[in-house]
Amino acid sequence: MNTKVSIAGVEFKNPVTVASGTFGSGMEYSEFVDLSKLGAVTTKGVALTPWTGNNTIRVCEVYGGMLNAIGLQNPGIEVFCERDIPFLKKYDTKIIVNVCGKTVEEYVGVVERLSSEPVDMLEINVSCPNVKEGAIAFGQDAKALENITREIKKVAKQPVIMKLSPNVTRIADMAKAAEAAGADAISLINTITGMKIDINRRTFVLANKTGGMSGPAIKPVAVRMVYECANAVIIPIIGMGGISNAEDALEFIMAGATMVSVGAANFVNPYTTLEVIDGIKDYMQRNNVNDIKELIGCVK
């Protein structure tokens, strides 16, 4: 039975990784999860300089999910390269580094700094506001997305995954823009922008007013978007959004995802990733599937 998949020449032992920001750089969850069992660890977003992030309250629960507005707190690329990469290299897993920035130059700076580091892929978070262009997210404008993808591809030494925002009218257009500019893969969905109001205090729950929604409640939206993108582009897709178990993961794979990421479900059960991997194998065994590739995009 084969669970190996490959994206842009990088081979993963199984199709399961984690959604950026839900797993740190793996260290915090390594008490529970043998990271060597994961297809890859996708790290928390890292920027050129340390980012303080938003004020608290940063997280809150909503029906069947949660909102977060962490504001991408991170120690910056130097600490990341000194501390997090050596930690992850102790494990037999692939490393996908999530990159964030406020300007194209900042993204390019991080990507250049990573060019000599032993990481396997880069995932670009284009849901950050583009401060030079009225703070609309790079991923919400097809031209801006194409431009940033192109600039990153010029300097990147590792394959580039563009992580798409679902907060757009037509996600397939964004997938096409990323592909046209040379992206090696896309990942989706990032969180869906939401809001929760505290009716007793008559104000927003989150200090940032809005936050990104994740969790089981967003899964049908995510599966639909993965399906639409799979029909629009040839490059591989990493699917995510509300995956809590193997059945959820298989929906994404059948909709066209080559790999899947477990996000908020790590908070619900730290062993979710391992349970998803085992559950996929069980499904394959029960259904006489010899190669996971038979399932990728099998629903037309």
Partner: protein, 255 residues
Amino acid sequence: MKIYEKAKVTKALELSKGIFELRIKTDIAKEAKPGQFVMVYPKDKSTILPRPISICEAEGDLLRLVYRVAGKGTKEFSLYKENDEVTVMGPIGNGFPIEKAVGKKAVLIGGGIGVPPILQLSKEIKAKEVTTVLGYRNNDLFLKDDFDKYSKTVIATEDGSVGTKGNVLTAIKEQGIECDVIFACGPMPMLRAIKQYAKEKNIEAYISLEERMACGVGACLGCVCKTVNKDEHSHVNNARVCTEGPVFLASEVDI
């Protein structure tokens, strides 16, 4: 090492109005230190996130949790019965640095739902002298009898029905309680006042903070607290309450 497991409820009851007690059998109890907490996972998956609940007592493999019903998750917990299963993770956080009390006069302060974690502290602390000051709204003095077993206990009530009328600091001042070190847990206004009091009196004060959390393991960066010095994770003066905390030296946090 943190443990994530299904544990058995050995006792469940309403301790006083809206305040519930859950005793569970788990190896977490063997590892737990005063001031640490556990994550309790609701079974209703419309409430996906675990609830951080302080450890009131830990004896052998039994953990005693005392909490206030504040929403859907804690409401569910309050309906649990003996022999029910509950998923928990812990112990979490740094806990109170009890070694700082050795040879000193210590005051332990609990306010409102910050009272429960002070109980295990009062059992384990070894100081020259210990006084516990508990602040309540009214004469509903939950856990007060348990505290009487371990140290001299002073009460403050907001309505003045028992002990000093006012808050824990009113009681400390009124009774002329002197100390070298403070350990406290309670609502933010109380902790701010203690931080100020400790600064004026040049007393070491260790305060246990609360913040909205998601993961409980230090990964999500949801539960941060502003710190005077650079934090060890992100180097941006934002320490994680679940990992570097929940107990901080008052002078090192910006609250």
